[in-house]
Amino acid sequence: MSGIRITRLYPADLDFGGDRGNVEALQLRARRAGLEVDLSAHAIGDGEIGAADLLVLGTGPASVLERVLDDARAHRDELAALIDGGTPVLAIGAGAEILSESVTTLDGIVHPGLGLLPMTAVRNRERRIGYVIADSPVGELIGFEDHAARWTAGAGATAFGTVRVGQGIVRFGQAWSVGLRTGDLFALQLQGPLLPLNPAMTDQLLSLAATHAGVEYSGPHRHELVDDYAAGVRRQFQEYAKGKELHYINV
């Protein structure tokens, strides 16, 4: 049986918003398609990251940013080589900001990022919270946004997840988006968690990972129950879109 290697970066620190659900979704769909998943993790202080067919970064609290960045900088060249070598990346929230060019925190300090993603992030006090429906090249994305930051896309980044219902984090022209893409690096500010709610996105990442591993991912295909449940969630989000009060949550 052939397989793919998935590496989670800093799971003990970047583990908010159900990020492990994203990994569970990847494992479930890969397994049902007959692919073994070799799951590993890189933590602060660990040695070489090693080869990977997919990198996954989750989001985390402001307090971990500096310490994660310190370690990530020491592994910057390895990560750059992996991305140059075609390893796809899913980065959510703070995980995406670490890969970016810089993160400006509330105290005005500009923290240089790894510069692997053409984007800058500025944390602010204007928190955006609520249900999201967005359009992307893999189809409609649904999820929950909860962030207090604006991202600005640089050259080479395209919108990924143009907001239809919700607020978004990065603007392309007049349209807000929940994320952006450069090559096979997907940076999103969308929880829920993202992948269980959006099987098409999971299939997209697994296809790219399988291509990198030189194996076949026989997706996208229907997974009974899981896809039915995800469709039920999607119907519920359509209901949210009809009612005004549920777009935004007042805090």
Binding site: D13, I129, F144, P196, L225, A231, V233, Q236
Partner: protein, 435 residues
């Protein structure tokens, strides 16, 4: 608090206006904090005055999980010692709601017949309220990753609790098993600090411990060691022995579970600090006997008119730790189980942070987030019998089950679903049950 403060004639207008507003709203079957908003606006010193009149002081109970249960425990222990207690319903743990519930019991001049106020307080408001009201005792239970959409960062919640503790005048009671609270700066407090906790050998038997949030801003992510003035030294089902200041108190918990035992240790220690020499272990144990499972938290509710018919135990969750601890409290996978979840919990990503594999199936998921829950169970490999967002239909399915091996069904519910389901089963609302 100013010397002049005290109930009196000058409060008659705001108190009566608040009472009137409350009466009108209740006639329309709407319980809201509006009367409190109104009365506080008419008299900004009203809340301070209402709270300032209690001879034995004011107790704040804070924490991510277990506030309501612990508040009830302290209340019953203190009552068993003959002390008259004013306490608030869990839905009224913010300033306006608090004023509303005080108004309900006060005389027209603002007098409330009680010796002490024991209040659960929302962490978002606790520091400001403590500054205004000078609590005698502050009890801080735990800090877990909770409602980030509302409370933002977990460490912010930790700071809110620790900032509140600084205002305590007589005693601070905190968990030594909590990553954040165990690091309280004992020297910086006005009042002496006492710790409660679970004995290590007891804690070791629970697969996920007490689910404290890791302290991500400190190299020491876990709790730091302290001697506990109150420690759970044995726990078996609902029987627990808690050593309080060197004396063993044998109690029966209202509901099984290590989290309830931790709450009980916090409650006994708080009562010991409130009562001082008056604290009597035998009376304290009687307090627990008087304790009914708090509304929706471990409460067993009949599903039919037949006394021998199906019954369901409500276990409430609002975040991954409360879901996990309630799952871990079960001896075995329940015979019949339902989970009800709705928009009361906006972001349910946390469902993936709980290990749900101790359940071998779920009969029904309900509430308007039923599909979200089903999706989570599918990812964990836990089969779901029916996805039925309609609550009344879900109740019908569960009523048709025949529980044979277990004593009752288990229903995991979020707060709002608990309210709706209780209502759907013909149970009263909380304020009617407020003693």
């Amino acid at each position: 608090m100013s010397e002049a403060a005290g109930p009196g004639a000058r409060y008659i207008v705001p108190v009566l206006t608040g009472k009137l507003a409350r009466g009108v709203l209740r006639l329309r079957k709407r319980g809201t904090s509006f009367p409190g908003v109104l009365a506080n606006r008419m008299s900004p010193t009203l809340l301070t005055t209402l709270i300032g009149q209690f001879r034995d002081g004011l107790v704040f109970v804070l924490g991510s999980n277990g506030k309501t249960t612990t508040t009830h425990m302290i209340t019953e222990i203190v009552r068993a010692h003959g002390v008259r207690v004013f306490t608030n319903p869990s839905g009224a743990n913010m300033p306006q709601g608090l004023t509303s519930s005080l108004l309900a019991l006060s005389s027209p001049t603002g007098r409330v017949k009680a010796d002490i106020a024991i209040l659960e307080v929302d962490e978002g408001y606790s520091a400001k309220l403590a500054e205004r009201l000078s609590p005698s005792v502050v009890v801080a239970l735990n800090i877990v990753v909770d409602q980030l959409y509302r409370l933002f960062e977990t460490e912010r919640v930790a700071d809110m609790l620790l900032d509140t503790a600084k205002w305590a005048t007589d005693a601070v009671v905190v968990s030594r098993d909590d990553s954040y609270l165990s690091k309280i700066d004992v020297e910086a407090q006005k009042a002496p600090v006492s710790f409660f906790g679970i004995a290590p050998d007891v804690l070791a038997r629970h697969p996920h411990g007490v689910m404290t949030a890791p302290d991500l801003r400190d190299e020491r992510r876990g709790a730091v060691a302290h001697d506990a003035a109150a420690e759970v030294v044995s726990l078996s089902g609902r029987s627990a022995t808690i050593r309080v200041d060197g004396r063993d108190v044998a109690i029966t918990l209202p509901v099984q579970g290590v989290h309830f035992a931790a709450d009980a240790a916090a409650a006994l220690l708080s009562a010991a600090r409130i009562l001082g020499d008056r604290f009597d272990p035998a009376l304290a144990a009687q307090g627990f006997d008087a304790l009914k499972p708090t509304w929706g938290r471990g409460e067993v509710v009949p599903l039919t008119d037949d006394p021998a018919g199906e019954r369901a135990q409500f276990l409430m969750f609002k975040n991954a730790p409360s879901l996990q601890l309630n799952i871990d409290s079960l001896d075995h996978a329940p015979e019949h189980v339902m989970l009800a979840i709705d928009d009361g919990l906006p972001d349910v990503s946390f469902l993936y942070d709980a290990d749900v594999t101790a359940l071998d199936h779920v009969d029904v998921v309900t509430g308007n987030k039923a599909h979200l829950a089903a999706l989570r169970f599918a990812h964990a490999g836990v089969p779901v019998g029916a996805v039925e967002p309609d609550m009344m239909k879900a109740i019908e399915i569960m009523r048709s089950k025949k529980t044979e091996k277990d004593d009752h069904q288990v229903w995991f519910v979020n707060y709002e679903q608990m309210m709706y389901l209780r209502h759907g089963l013909g149970r009263g609302d909380q304020e009617e049950e407020l003693r």
